[in-house]
């Protein structure tokens, strides 16, 4: 099957390759070792494969790898710089929002994008819930996830860090 050349950045590093047009971004990333990107359904219902494409959260299972050409991809592996967790990652730990952990990478990326788009705006529970409705979690009942989002927002406000 047809291969197309693409160049992209993943967590800040440049990649160039030829990809089979049938490949999903999920498969491409996992094949490169970004195994935080989990397949939970393959049809965009669960959000476990959420990554950021140019800052926008997408289900990588429903995104062709060739669409990632010239784009910047972020996965949860890249959110921990020099061994320092991002405020979102820290907040997930501190609020106990991590249980089985399978939905966690996708949720952390959804929260990351959600907060980057709403810097310094007050958040209601309803807004947070709507902003995370594309990620299923069967362990937490979402209670600690919502708290983690609130905590991460507080951290970001305090530190002024993106």
């Amino acid at each position: 099957m047809q291969q197309l050349p693409i160049t992209l950045r993943i967590n800040g590093r440049a990649y160039s390759m030829d990809v089979d047009v049938r490949t999903s971004l999920l498969e491409l990333l996992r094949g490169l070792g970004f195994t935080s990107v989990k397949e939970g359904c393959g049809v965009g219902e669960c959000g476990a494969c959420t990554v950021l494409v140019d800052g926008v959260a997408v289900d990588s299972c429903l995104y062709l790898a060739v669409w990632a050409d010239k784009r910047a991809i972020r996965t949860v592996e890249g959110e921990c710089a020099d061994g320092r967790l991002s405020p979102v990652q820290e907040a997930y730990i501190e609020e106990g929002a991590v249980q089985c952990g399978f939905c966690t990478p996708g949720l952390v990326m959804t929260t990351t994008s959600f907060l980057e788009q709403r810097e310094n705006t007050p958040l209601t529970r309803e807004e947070i819930a709507r902003g995370h409705a594309g990620n299923l979690c069967r362990c937490t009942g979402y209670q600690t996830i919502i708290r983690a989002v609130q905590r991460a927002a507080d951290k970001q406000r305090r530190s002024g860090r993106r």
Binding site: T35, V76, E77, Y92, V98, G141
Partner: protein
């Protein structure tokens, strides 16, 4: 003092950074993938099967059909082996079958070099069926002349339990007798990680299986049985696992991947179910019909309860009759002064096989019981909380089997605390005489559960502690971390008993049956309760070995030494530090003549089973016209003994409550009774609640340490799912006066019931 504090979970950093490796995150060069060929019909016999087109597809390595697999029937339920042949699980499975029993049953399997090829090849296997009549419901399956789904007929088992005085007399003594009939649906686990496993051989005699399983040691035994191999020749490795909720307390893929690698010369072969397969072709929660009859005195005393459960186990037995029986033996602790007669029937049907799911039959049973008690409270004019307070277990009423120890019981305090938290008395007054399309209501329900399976099954756990050269300790446990936080809780326990920092305990999270101490796994809310004695004893022994070694080195009598915060000190005022644990360890490892690696290993059997309790209170509104329920406030209060890790404990409660809200209002697998077609076997149509569907969840604990655990703890993983559904139902009853006796209480069902009750035109 690590026990009782919310230390950082052992696996938290790995999970938020994506480093935690699950089964599918490990790949091996040359790994093949396998895909099942599934039956589109719900009941039938394969007349003809043609694999030639599939085999001809480039990239296909092999195709096996039901004609190629061993003919030994095996049982899949994740129970410990039983020495009593009568107590063993029903062996009714083959690796593949020519007699398909539900839509999705497995007749063949293709092995290919990549997933797309495997998928294409599976579609190319041509199968023709002689269809048989389909029974999906108890009425159809138990009807005279119903087609036999398995040899021996459709009834798996029928049993009776009685507790307390004779029920007939107790019913006679009642002022009110009331009965109710309740239905619960097929519910799915929907763990985020689908079932997946791979197997390979690294010599000619042993098979290695890597699997997302809750029960590695049980899995080893069942694979050995299914393939007729010595159990020790099977090695099961359990990496991080993305949720199980009971669905991975069953052996689903492992015998097949083991069979395939054995057939293909030991090359690695993987099966990863896709979401749709995982929803319908693994296990489900049993749909049950619960009939309850209760006798009550005018003051609210429950004199007797008669309960009859019909449990639909679907196409294969799996956990089968254990489900209603386990629930039937646990609920008596809630109302121990009541005479009880419990009967249950489990039957086959042409629907997906039901197995273990969080709280193992108790959510169904308590839905019936706690709904009926609310109906009774209304009939008697007694407040439903008062009715429960009047009847629930009191301190000292429940003892160990030998009568020697009284378990902790704090359910009454849970009810009182929940009542206050929801504002029961005040709101009850405010909510009188409502009309209009939107009405508020309050609901309550209570439950009891166990901590493990004893005396039905053996309760065994193992712990090995090794002092490292740097003074830290590696902990190996058979207990499996499945997200519930057992690694963390057990490390907290070990740290406390040893006298070292929690951070100095390294947990080997991955179980490997070749090296991990034996434990049957994560199920029955047993893990921290059953592993605690092993951990406690191993930590105590290692502590003594450390002190003895220090004594040998320094000449100070061991009885004068203590281990505290990783340092060995001589007791007294002031205490004198003798040496750090690291210094002692180096000496023990590397002194040329004396010492050695300090290790303590304990395998312990638990012969107690502490009852745990709790309740749910809910404040909700019903929009009668839109047939929708909105939960304003919901709280679970638990009597789970001493809480080891408050954050994880709350997490277990939240998760259980959300799953219960799903069961109450959203979730059911719909199966067409005419042909057994599954209507909604995907995540769009099977309605797992999203973040927007779950309200704020509250929880609280009444901490009464249980004397049968060295750390005072008892079960918490499963119980939170039991009482929310009946509490919500009772809240709807309070709001509208309409008793809904079926789950899930979707808008469609509410529409039907509200219309029947005259609340809606029709």
């Amino acid at each position: 003092m690590s026990v009782g504090t919310a230390v950082i979970r052992k696996d938290a950093r790995a999970k938020v950074t994506g480093k935690a490796r699950y089964t599918d995150d490990q790949s091996m060069a040359g790994m093949l993938v396998a895909r099942y060929v599934r039956s589109p019909v719900a009941h039938g016999l394969v007349r003809e099967i043609d694999t030639s087109a599939a085999l001809a597809l480039p990239g296909v390595e092999a195709v096996f059909t039901y004609e190629h697999v061993p003919t030994t029937l095996f049982a899949t339920a994740g129970h410990p082996y039983s020495l009593d042949p009568d107590h063993r699980d029903v062996a009714d499975r083959l690796l593949l079958t020519g007699h398909v029993r539900y839509q999705g049953d497995e007749v063949a399997i293709v092995v290919a070099r990549d997933e797309l090829t495997a998928k294409r090849a599976a579609a190319l296997v041509r199968v023709e069926y002689d269809e048989l009549p389909v029974c999906t419901t108890p009425e159809a399956a138990l009807a005279h002349g119903a087609p036999a789904i398995h040899e021996g007929g459709n009834i798996l088992e029928r049993t009776e339990l009685t507790f307390g005085p004779p029920v007939a007399e107790a019913m006679e003594a009642a002022d009110l007798q009331l009965d109710g009939h309740y239905n619960t649906p097929v519910v799915l686990h929907c763990h985020l990680e689908n079932h997946t496993a791979f197997a390979y051989m690294d010599d000619n005699d042993h098979i290695v299986i890597v699997s997302s399983t809750q029960i590695p040691h049980i899995c080893r035994r069942i694979v050995g049985q299914a393939l007729d191999m010595e159990w020790s020749r099977i090695r099961v490795i359990k990496p991080h696992i993305g949720g199980g909720f009971g669905n991975k307390q069953d052996v689903v893929l492992e015998p097949m991947v083991a069979f395939l690698t054995l057939q293909l010369g030991g090359v690695p072969v993987r099966i990863t179910l896709d979401r749709e397969e995982c929803l319908v072709a693994t296990r489900t929660r049993h749909s049950q019909q619960v009939t309850v009859r209760a006798g009550l005195k005018r003051d609210g005393t429950i004199t007797g309860i008669e309960m009859d459960i019909t449990s639909n186990t679907g196409a294969y037995a799996s956990h089968g009759h254990s489900i209603p029986m386990a629930a039937g033996s646990k609920f008596r602790h809630l109302y121990p002064r009541t005479a009880i007669r419990f009967t249950a029937t489990t039957h086959y049907a042409n629907i997906p096989a039901a197995g273990a799911m969080r709280a193992y039959g108790s959510p169904q049973l308590f839905f019936g019981l706690e709904c009926l008690l609310d109906d009774a409270a209304r009939s008697l004019g007694v407040d439903p909380v008062e009715l429960r307070l009047h009847n629930v277990a009191r301190a000292g009423e429940i003892t160990t089997p030998d009568g020697g120890t009284r378990y902790a019981v704090a359910i009454a305090r849970c009810l009182e605390q929940g009542r206050d938290a929801i504002g029961w008395q005040r709101k009850k007054k405010e909510l009188q005489n409502q009309d209009g399309p939107v009405r508020r209501g309050l609901g309550v329900a209570a439950f009891s559960y166990g901590s493990g399976t004893y005396p039905a099954c053996v309760e065994i756990a193992g712990c090995r502690l090794v002092l490292n050269q740097d003074g830290s300790v590696h902990m190996q446990i058979g207990a499996t971390e499945i997200g519930q936080g057992s690694d963390t809780a057990l490390a907290q326990m070990a740290a406390r008993t040893l006298g070292i920092d929690y951070d100095r305990i390294h947990v080997v999270s991955q179980q490997d049956t070749d090296v991990t101490p034996f434990d049957t796994g994560a199920y029955a809310s047993r893990q921290t309760y059953v592993a605690a004695p092993a951990v406690h004893e191993a930590a105590e022994r290692l502590r003594q070995k450390i002190l003895a070694a220090c004594s040998g080195l320094t000449g100070t009598p061991a009885r004068e030494l203590e281990l505290a915060e990783g340092r060995i000190i001589r007791a007294g005022e002031p205490a004198e530090e003798i040496m750090s644990l690291g210094e002692l360890a180096l000496s023990e490892y590397y002194h040329k003549e004396r010492g050695g690696q300090l290790v303590a290993e304990v395998s312990a059997k638990t012969v107690t089973n502490a009852p745990s309790f709790g309740c749910t209170f809910v404040d909700l509104a019903v929009d009668i016209e839109l047939c929708q329920v909105t939960i304003h406030k919901i709280i679970n209060v638990h009597d789970a003994g001493r809480i080891i890790h408050p954050l994880s404990a709350a997490g277990q409660v939240h998760g259980g409550m959300a799953m219960a809200i799903g069961m109450a209002l959203f979730e059911e697998l719909l199966i067409d009774p005419a042909g057994g077609r599954i209507c909604n076997g995907n995540l769009l149509d099977y309605k797992v609640p999203t973040c927007t569907d779950i309200p704020e969840l509250d929880c609280a604990f009444v901490e009464e340490p249980d004397p049968t655990s060295p750390y005072g703890n008892k079960s918490l993983g499963e119980p939170p799912i039991i009482s929310p559904a009946p509490a919500i139902r009772n809240g709807i009853l309070d709001a509208t006066g309409v008793a809904i006796n079926e789950l899930p209480m979707t808008p469609k069902l509410l529409f039907r019931e509200f219309r029947k009750a005259g609340l809606l035109p029709g």
